[in-house]
């Protein structure tokens, strides 16, 4: 199966934060956005909503900074994963992540990040506008190209006959 990536489209985001809710329930069994691995960053004037989460970087700063090689590339999901058996909880990764996507849960004494829900991200499942989506890369590009070409196609339809 072709690999997928998680992609956000802020123009589709309605700011409902359901992604935060289902993420915290899925991973912690509780409703608590402060533990969610995704967060909708909002500007209230004008209303701009951008869902932020782990970018699963190719050259990941969290991975580079980890002194115990506890952060590794998960080939199956093409993601960045944590091996909690190796992790010593030094939080260097929390400091290194440029996106704020590595969190620290003081109650569990553990770092946490998006694990793509092992291939079935709940934030995507519950996002009805698909402002957060999990798609095959090739399809993503084709869809975007089609969207971008729509104007051209429209003009052609109208004037080319």
């Amino acid at each position: 199966m072709a690999k997928k990536i998680m992609i956000v489209d802020p123009e589709k985001c309605t700011g409902c934060r359901n992604c935060e809710l289902v993420c915290s329930v899925r991973h912690n069994g509780v409703s608590n956005p402060s533990l969610a691995r995704i967060h909708v960053v909002k500007w209230d004037n004008p209303g701009i909503y951008i869902p932020m989460r782990c970018q699963q970087c190719e050259d990941a700063p969290c991975m580079a900074v980890c002194p115990k090689d506890a952060i590794y590339r998960n080939e199956e999901l093409d993601s960045v994963s944590i091996d909690h058996d190796l992790c010593i909880g030094c939080k260097m990764c929390v400091a290194a992540c440029p996106f704020g996507a590595m969190g620290w849960n003081p109650k569990r004494g553990r770092v946490y990040k998006c694990d793509l829900c092992h291939g079935d991200p709940q934030c995507v499942r519950f996002c009805d506008t698909k402002a957060v989506d999990y798609v095959e890369t090739s399809k993503l590009c084709c869809d975007r190209m089609r969207e971008a070409a729509e104007n051209y196609a429209d003009l052609t339809r109208r004037y080319a006959r």
Binding site: C16, N28, S34, D44, G47, F126
Partner: protein, 636 residues
């Protein structure tokens, strides 16, 4: 756990704060949100108190399912004795405040007294402080929130606050959160203003434990699918409640020029589709997939470039049909102003429409308006009146007192043009052709209102089987039901059922667009029981929930009776009976409400509620609901 949230009792006189747990017995009897608010209000407000005095108690609450996996669990409810009606004050809003309140550990704020200077309350992870708000006094809703976020250094803080209208004690001032979320009806903003309470800010990172997380996730998906598969929701996702304007206006159900017509011709500019050119996207409340509000930017004029949120169906009436205006720009500017000043859109639109009719009839003149031409369709006059009311200037100072007090000042002749019940104005809907809707407006526990018990689906003339599935459960009602909206038979049951359904919904803190309001296929008692069980662990049968809602609605009734309401207050303005609808489709044209038949409707409605002919709950009912102690202190 969801059930471990606290009640914060705050006395602003002494700046005393006390946190107490919510007894499990209260959860079982009143759930939370509006239901528990009714109980708390009855007990903490002395009978006959001045709504704008320190003895009045204002309660801000989050419903039982807020913040949990119940889609749209976002609602904040506010209760107090109303300065508009002198009866029950009750208003709710969506947005993000209620969930943040719960993550901060609080389910109910019960606030009494009056601070000796402007203050705001800040709740953070179970701790509460009262902070100075001198620098915020005089600010609008948008600025107040931005300033509080800035001084607390946390952009995630959620804030409810009043604008200038609440400070000026406009009797229909709203309490606002975000750009648009408004607990607007019954003047709760004026109560906050009277207490020198500018705002409440919440920020929390405390978890709400979900009873059965995996199943709750799956069931949430099911409930969401149920909601967003309906045509009503799909229209709302695209256009918000504005989609209803075209349908209701074409049918002849839109109150126009105060109450002179039931349709606004040539109003294409007010159609929902026209909003597309202003919209930069839709906006949702917490956890909701219906995302029924536009984010928009005003294009032209004095307010060009201003960003705001909305409008909705109500606004199209308030600054459109009711005042005879046909400009979307006026609606968008009006919507922005009322949200920033913190005023009830619906009430202010009705007040301006009424004043325009008085001006037309010569009951008020240029002398009263200080030269302002209050003529139908005068867009500038509408915007000017919004400002005058918010800041209590000129004629606005009189209108800011609300329908009955303003009429007392403008003379008895003005009274008969008011479209109000219990001292509160009605929505811009015209119910003369729809007895069920008219009844819901007349008997509502907070005055003329469409969100207390309106069986809106009656307008769809649905197959009778659909109505039977809904309205015969859960208590096995076996009386009459009819599916033609112009008939009288069987309508009291629909109103009573909707009242209890909405009570359950507002006690759970979910949105009415997620229940049987605009679609017959949305969740109701059956689905609510499952949501409660999976999210909180509380076991409620459908009948438990029904009885719970009945108990809470009865307490609201008792509160109103205690504050002096009588059967005469469950009645419509004369114009509903004496003037027939001049416009609309054939089934709607030439209709008026029949007095005798309407009296019979009220009688039947009382019987269904087990209230006596004076509208007092019977001792048997109170005993069965376990609230005999509340009724015993009442005297007829």
């Amino acid at each position: 756990m969801a059930l471990s949230r606290k009640i914060a009792y705050i006395d602003l006189d002494r700046e005393n704060i006390k946190l107490e747990p919510i007894p499990m017995e209260w959860r079982r009897k009143f759930m939370g949100g509006r239901g528990l608010d009714a109980y708390l209000l009855y007990h903490h407000t002395p009978g006959g108190c001045d709504p704008l005095g320190p003895d009045n108690v204002v309660i801000v609450s989050a419903g039982l399912l807020v913040g949990t996996l119940a889609s749209s669990g976002s609602r904040t409810h506010i209760a107090a004795k109303s300065p508009l009606t002198n009866l029950l004050g009750s208003a709710s809003m969506g947005g993000f405040f209620a969930p943040e309140m719960r993550w901060a550990g609080i389910d109910h704020f019960v606030i009494r007294g009056k601070a000796n200077r402007p203050v705001y309350i800040y709740a953070h992870d179970g701790e509460i402080e009262i902070r100075d708000a001198n620098h915020l006094w005089g600010c609008g809703v948008y600025d107040t929130q931005a300033m509080i976020c800035k001084e607390l250094g946390d952009q995630e803080t959620q804030i409810l606050c009043i604008g200038q209208a609440g400070e000026n004690r406009v009797r229909f001032a709203s309490v606002m959160s975000g750009r648009k979320d408004a607990a607007a009806r019954t003047g709760m903003g004026a109560v906050l203003g009277s207490k020198n309470l500018k705002a409440i800010a919440c920020r929390g990172t405390m978890e709400i434990e979900i009873n059965r997380p995996e199943e709750a996730l799956e069931y949430n998906q099911q409930a969401i699918d149920q909601v967003i598969s309906s045509k009503a929701s799909q229209s709302m996702q695209r256009w918000g409640t504005n989609f209803m304007f075209g349908i209701t206006n074409t049918t002849g159900l839109v109150r126009t020029r105060n109450f002179q017509y039931n349709q606004l011709p040539n109003s294409e500019n007010l159609e929902a589709e026209n909003l597309d050119q202003y919209s930069i996207g839709m906006d949702a409340c917490f956890g909701c997939q219906v995302h029924c509000r536009h984010r928009y930017v005003i294009k032209e004029g004095e307010y060009a470039g201003t960003y705001a949120m909305g409008p909705d169906f109500t606004t199209l009436g308030a600054f459109g049909a009711e005042v005879g205006c046909r400009s979307m720009d006026t609606v968008l500017v009006g919507n922005h102003l009322v949200n920033d000043y913190g005023i009830d859109t619906l009430e202010i639109g009705s007040m301006i429409g009424w004043a325009m009719e008085l001006y037309e009839k010569g009951i008020i003149t240029d002398k009263d308006t200080h030269g302002l031409k209050l003529e139908w369709g005068n867009d500038e006059a509408v915007i000017e009146m919004i400002k005058q009311i918010a800041f209590r200037k000129e004629l606005g100072d009189i209108l800011a007192e609300g329908p009955l007090r303003a009429a007392a000042k403008l003379g008895p002749e003005s009274l008969k043009y008011l479209i109000q019940v219990k001292g509160m104005s009605n929505l811009h809907t015209d119910e003369r052709a729809a007895p069920a809707l008219a009844l819901s407006v007349a008997v509502s526990s907070r005055g003329a209102d469409h969100l207390r018990g309106m069986p809106a689906i009656d307008l769809y003339n649905l197959p009778i089987e659909v109505l039977e599935r809904i309205y015969r459960s859960p208590d096995g009602y076996d009386g009459p039901l009819t599916n033609n909206f112009t008939e009288y038979e069987g309508k009291p049951r629909m109103v009573m059922w909707q009242e209890l359904c909405y009570m359950a919904v507002e006690s759970l803190g979910i949105c009415k667009y997620h229940t049987v309001f605009l679609s017959p296929n949305h969740p109701a008692f059956t689905e609510f029981c499952r949501l409660i069980q999976l999210n909180t662990g509380l076991e409620f049968s459908e009948m438990d929930l029904w009885n719970c809602a009945n108990r809470c609605y009865t307490i609201e009734r008792l509160f109103n009776l205690r504050e002096g309401m009588t059967r005469a207050d469950d009645w419509l303005p004369d114009r509903y009976f004496d003037e027939a609808t001049p416009l609309g489709l054939p089934g709607v044209r030439g209709k008026h409400i029949d007095r005798d038949k309407f009296k019979a409707l009220v009688d039947e409605y009382y019987q269904l509620h087990e209230w006596d002919q004076e509208g007092f709950p019977t001792p048997e009912l109170l005993k069965r609901l376990g609230i005999s102690d509340l009724g015993s202190s009442l005297s007829k």
